[in-house]
């Protein structure tokens, strides 16, 4: 069976018009001869493009969905977590991925480690057991996601005591920088409050630290929603405990803070 294969035969194979035995034999030959496969694939492809997009509702096997989910989650900058943990570099649009630079895979699944890294690398997870009656719920998380870019900008440039507004789509609110701290290991951390303008938006007290060139949220605490101003950091036991636990030396003086922010603004890397 080494004779030339006609376009009509490849077409009929692509359209499922051949008897099974004939189709199997021809397909085996197609598989063995990439030149035939290219001609054959063209017929399959042209049909697929014409087909009614809504014509197929067949179920998809769970393992395929799981694989997509894994590949989706392993992509830096696309995971829901990345926005919160990431800071400016991850909140920015995903960089163009060059297939040339992609690592070779050894199996179908992307490494589980890539997913785990997102979790472990994220939040330092400070917790005071008896003082954790609840969590912020979706609204708080959404608020931090929406405000991420503005938060990064404010953390990197605004002096403590200043309030800036933020907006993201329909959402908006304010960010008030409270204080700056240097941890025992030299890490710069900033305490702030984040508020949403919409009704029902809570106020949150947060601490972000500068880790590996970007701001990472280390602590989030629901703040009293009263508008009578923020209380100084010293009045906030959880934030204080977080900072003391990390050997922070106390709020930085305005001049020292300005110096550090100036250094941050220098081109990195």
């Amino acid at each position: 069976m080494t004779s030339a294969v006609s376009d009509e035969m490849l077409l009929a194979l692509a359209d499922g018009e051949l008897e099974k035995a004939t189709a199997d034999a021809l397909h085996a030959r197609v598989m063995a001869e990439p030149e035939l496969a290219e001609r054959f694939a063209l017929f399959v492809e042209s049909r697929a493009l014409l087909e009614d997009a809504g014509s197929s509702d067949q179920a998809v096997p769970p393992h395929l969905l799981a694989a997509i989910r894994a590949a989706d989650g392993a992509r830096p900058g696309r995971h829901g977590l990345a926005v919160i943990e990431g800071g400016a570099t991850l909140a920015a649009p995903a960089p163009a991925v060059s297939p040339r630079s992609l690592p070779r895979r050894t199996g179908w699944q992307l490494p589980l480690a890539a997913c785990l890294a997102l979790l472990i690398g994220g939040i330092a997870g400070y917790r005071i057991g008896s003082e954790t009656p609840g969590n912020p719920g979706p609204s708080g998380v959404a608020l931090f996601q929406s405000a991420r870019a503005a938060l990064d900008a404010a953390l990197g440039s605004s002096a403590s005591g200043s309030t800036t507004s933020w907006s993201h789509g329909a959402a908006g609110g304010s960010i008030t920088l409270v204080s700056s701290h240097r941890l025992g290991d030299g890490t710069l951390c900033r305490e702030y409050t984040l508020a949403g303008a919409a009704q029902g938006d809570d106020r949150w007290k947060g601490i972000d630290c500068r880790i590996k060139g970007r701001w990472r949220t280390e602590l989030v605490i629901a703040a009293p929603s009263s508008e009578d101003g923020y209380r100084p950091a010293s009045g906030d036991s959880a934030a204080d405990a977080f900072l003391q636990d990390r050997n922070a030396e106390g709020p930085l003086a305005p001049a020292a803070e300005a110096e550090l922010l100036k250094a941050l603004a220098q081109p990195k890397r």
Binding site: S46, G80, A94, V97
Partner: protein, 189 residues
């Protein structure tokens, strides 16, 4: 006072996840999932094997997710996926032939496509297929619609158009090649 570990709640994104547990998919991945039935059928037509078709569909989705920055928004994602799948498949056949050790498609698929060829340069706008159809002879267009869109068999088309079966096949073959050429699909990867 509420103190939270964000990673406990961060998965509560605004976008609802499709069926299945876990964090919500990205918008791009959700579109992939929506196209999966068609992608699987496309892969099944190429491979004639359910398991190889799923392998191919999965590899295609993973490739597409990694290279999503190369997809041009506003163009047909399905066409882009088909092109990736086609390139992956053909490359796997080439490797299978040149290496020859394994009959498993998966072994060859996995090695394929590190040079970027697989991520297609096919960027079809939504109406490009309609334009291509409009530019071809009406007899070709008619037959294309009958077979590819309406799903008629060659025999049905032959009867309906009162032309011999052989003419149906030769005309349909030319029509499909003409369509592929107009859409820039006929260039080999």
């Amino acid at each position: 006072m509420d103190i939270v570990q964000l990673h406990m709640t961060a998965s509560t994104g605004p976008k609802a996840a499709p069926a299945g547990a876990g964090p919500p998919l990205s918008a791009f991945a959700s579109e992939l999932v929506a196209l999966l039935p068609r992608l699987r059928r496309f892969a099944l037509s190429l491979t004639r094997s359910a398991s190889e078709a799923d392998d191919l569909a999965q590899a295609t989705c993973e490739r597409a997710l990694k290279a999503q920055a190369l997809w041009q928004p506003g163009t047909r994602l399905d066409a882009w996926l088909f092109r990736i799948a086609r390139n992956l498949w053909i490359d796997s056949l080439r490797k299978r032939r040149s290496e020859g050790q394994s009959e498993a498609l998966e072994d060859h698929l996995d090695l394929a496509g590190e040079d970027g060829r697989h991520v297609g340069d096919v960027a079809l706008t939504v109406d490009s297929v309609q334009q291509a159809l409009g530019a071809m002879p009406s007899a070709h267009r008619e037959l294309l619609m009958m077979v590819c869109v309406d799903g008629k068999s060659y025999r049905e088309a032959s009867q309906q158009l009162s032309i011999p079966l052989g003419t149906v096949m030769s005309r349909l073959s030319r029509a499909r090649q003409g369509l592929a050429a107009k859409l820039g699909m006929d260039k080999t990867s």
